[in-house]
Symmetry: C2
Subunit: 76 residues, 2 copies
């Protein structure tokens, strides 16, 4: 089975990478870009039947820094 | 309007970051993790009515390195 984990900085946490992308898009002539946030997506190839609680544990312990990041699990 | 761009390394391109995550999960006792690929997700806050072709152009010119990365656009 496959699972996809989306990890984003929480609202209110400064995102310099996203800010750099926003600035670069503006400098390249793309108008109307009001905000950019950049995050990670992690695609996991797991043994069939891995319970979502197990993936949740992976997120809590390794994949996300839950102090500043939020995550969302999507099983495919 | 909001758009989300997913950028992943193409199949066959080595992903050392994903490989490191796979190794770390194994070392932490998570069995059955057969593969990990790590990519980026970029959330854009755009002016209403921005055509998808415009977002496509952003991907081609800045957001993805199309030699080694593929991207997927999702408008929300």
């Amino acid at each position: 089975m496959k699972a996809r984990v989306h990890v984003m900085l929480k609202d209110g946490v400064l995102d310099p990478q996203g800010e750099a992308v926003r600035h670069a898009l503006g400098a390249m002539g793309f108008d109307g870009v009001e905000g950019v946030r950049q995050g990670k997506v992690i695609e996991l190839e797991l043994a069939d039947g891995t319970p979502e609680a197990r993936i949740e544990e992976m997120c809590q312990r390794l994949l996300a820094n839950t102090v500043i990041e939020s995550y969302r699990i999507e099983t495919l």
